[in-house]
Symmetry: C3
Subunit: 192 residues, 3 copies
C-alpha cells in the first residue's frame, strides 16, 4: 500500500492493528472451544449393584473404544467394584462389619432387583455366560487396558475402612474436586 501522508500511515497502522487483534481473539476462541470441553466421559460409580455396575462398565469401555477419554469415580458401595479381597486384620468392629457385608470384587456384586438372596444374581451370571457377555471383572481389566482413569473416593475409603491391600492396582485416590475437575471438561457426565 502506498502511503503518502502521515494521516494515511495512521489509518493503515490502525487497520493492521484491528486485524491483528481479530487474529488473536479468534485464536483464543479456537483454542478453547466450548469452554474447554473435551471428548471425555466422566462417571460416578456409586451403586455397587451388579446390574448398574455392568451398565457403567459397558458404557465406559464402549466410550473408551470410541476414542473418548473416560474417568470413573468409585464411591461408597461402588468401592466393591474395585476390591480384590477382604482384609479384617487391624480393623475396628464397624469396619469389620462393612467388610463382612460388602462384596469384594466386581464379580461378587448382587443384582439391585430380583436378587432373592443370590439366586437371581446366580441366574443372571448363568444367562450372561450363555450369551458370552464379558464379566464385570473382565470389563474392569478392559477399562484399565483402554486407559480409563479410575479414581477411588478417599472419604468413602476412610469411612468404610477399606484398606489399600483390599483394592486392585492402578487406582488413584481423589475427592469431589477430582470428579468435578474431570466432569467440567467432559461432554457427558453420569451418576450411576
Amino acid at each position: 500500500m502506498t502511503l503518502e501522508t502521515p494521516a494515511a500511515q495512521t489509518d493503515t497502522a490502525a487497520l493492521l492493528e484491528r486485524i491483528a487483534t481479530l487474529e488473536a481473539r479468534l485464536a483464543q476462541v479456537e483454542s478453547a472451544p466450548a469452554m474447554g470441553i473435551e471428548d471425555r466421559l466422566s462417571m460416578v460409580v456409586f451403586s455397587g449393584d451388579f446390574d448398574k455396575t455392568m451398565a457403567a462398565l459397558i458404557i465406559a469401555t464402549g466410550a473408551a473404544a470410541m476414542g473418548l477419554e473416560v474417568s470413573m469415580f468409585f464411591t461408597f458401595w461402588g468401592l466393591s467394584v474395585v476390591k480384590k479381597q477382604k482384609v479384617f486384620e487391624g480393623k475396628n468392629v464397624f469396619e469389620k462389619g462393612f467388610t463382612a457385608m460388602l462384596p469384594a470384587g466386581a464379580n461378587k456384586l448382587g443384582l439391585s432387583k430380583l436378587n432373592f438372596f443370590g439366586a437371581g444374581t446366580a441366574m443372571m451370571h448363568k444367562l450372561m455366560k450363555d450369551h458370552n457377555v464379558t464379566t464385570p471383572a473382565e470389563l474392569v481389566q478392559m477399562a484399565q487396558d483402554l486407559g480409563v482413569r479410575m479414581v477411588v473416593c478417599d472419604m468413602s475409603r476412610e469411612l468404610l475402612g477399606v484398606r489399600d491391600d483390599e483394592l486392585i492396582g492402578g487406582l488413584e485416590l481423589g475427592g469431589v474436586a477430582t470428579f468435578m475437575g474431570d466432569a467440567a471438561r467432559s461432554k457427558v457426565s453420569l451418576f450411576i
Copy 2:
C-alpha cells in the same frame, strides 16, 4: 486503494489474504459451536421402577415440548417400560423366569420404595389419578408423538430374552455406541 509499486501490491494481497483467512476460521468456529453440542437431551432409562420412570418420562416430554431433541435409551429393567405384553412361547427356562417376574408395560411398574408387594404402588396410582397426573403409558405415547428417539438396548433384549412382539412399536435397536453418539452431542445427559 491505489497501488503504485509491486511492494505495495504484495502488502495489499497479504492483507486481503489475512482477512479471508480470518473469515474462513470464524465461519468454522460459528458452524461448530461447542464442538457440535446441540439442544439435545439424552437419557439412559435403566431402572424400570415406576417412580424413576415417571421422572424420566416427565423430563423427556418436558424437554421435547421446550424444543430440545430427546433420546431415550431403554436398557436392562428399563425394557419393561416399552413392553406391551408378555410372550412365553419359544423361550428357555431363564427367559420364561424373567418374563414372569418383570412387568410388561409402563403402567405395570412398581415403586422403588414403599412398594409393599404392590400396595404402595396401587396407592400411588390412586393418588396420581386424583391429581390428574398423566400415566406412564400415556407419557410414553406422548414422548413418541413429540418425536422423542426411543432406542432399546440390543444386549439387554438378548440377555433377558425379550422378543420383538413383546415391545411397543416405533422403537430402534441400538447399543452403547448409539447412546454415546447422541450423548456426546447433547447439552444434558442423565442415567436414570
Copy 3:
C-alpha cells in the same frame, strides 16, 4: 491510506466493512461460548436415600466451593431432604400415609442398602461421627450458605401432599422447565 480514485475508495470501504463484520461476528461467538454453557452444575435429587443424598450434597457443596453455580432440584423421595417437620393436620388419608412413612429431614434418611430396619443407618451415622463427616442437614445448610439454588418439584409436593410449613426456608418451587433451563446451560448435570 491515500485514495485517489472512486474505485480505490470503494475497495477500502469494502475492506473496512469486512473487518467490521468480522469483529461483530467474533464478539457474538465470544459472548456465547459453547451455546451459553456456564460454569454450572445441575442435579436432580430424586432418591431420598441417606447415602445418595450425602453424595449429592458433597458434590454440590464441593462444586460451589470450587466456584461453580449449583442448582439442586428436589423431587419425589428427595423432598424428604428439605423437610424440617411432619404435619398431619388437614391432610387426606393418603397424604397422612406418606407423611407417616417418609422421613422429615436430611438427618432422618435411611440407607439405600444394608438399612436393616435402621440398624445399618445408625451404624453409618456413628461411623460418620467418628470420622468427623458433616451431617446431611449441615451440608444442606452449607449449600444454602454457598448460594446453591434449591428448587422443590411442585408436582411431587402436590402429589405427596407436602405442605409449605413442612419444608425448610430458602426454597423455590419449580418444575421440569426450571430444571431443564438450568441443566441446558450447565457443564455437568446429574440425576441422583
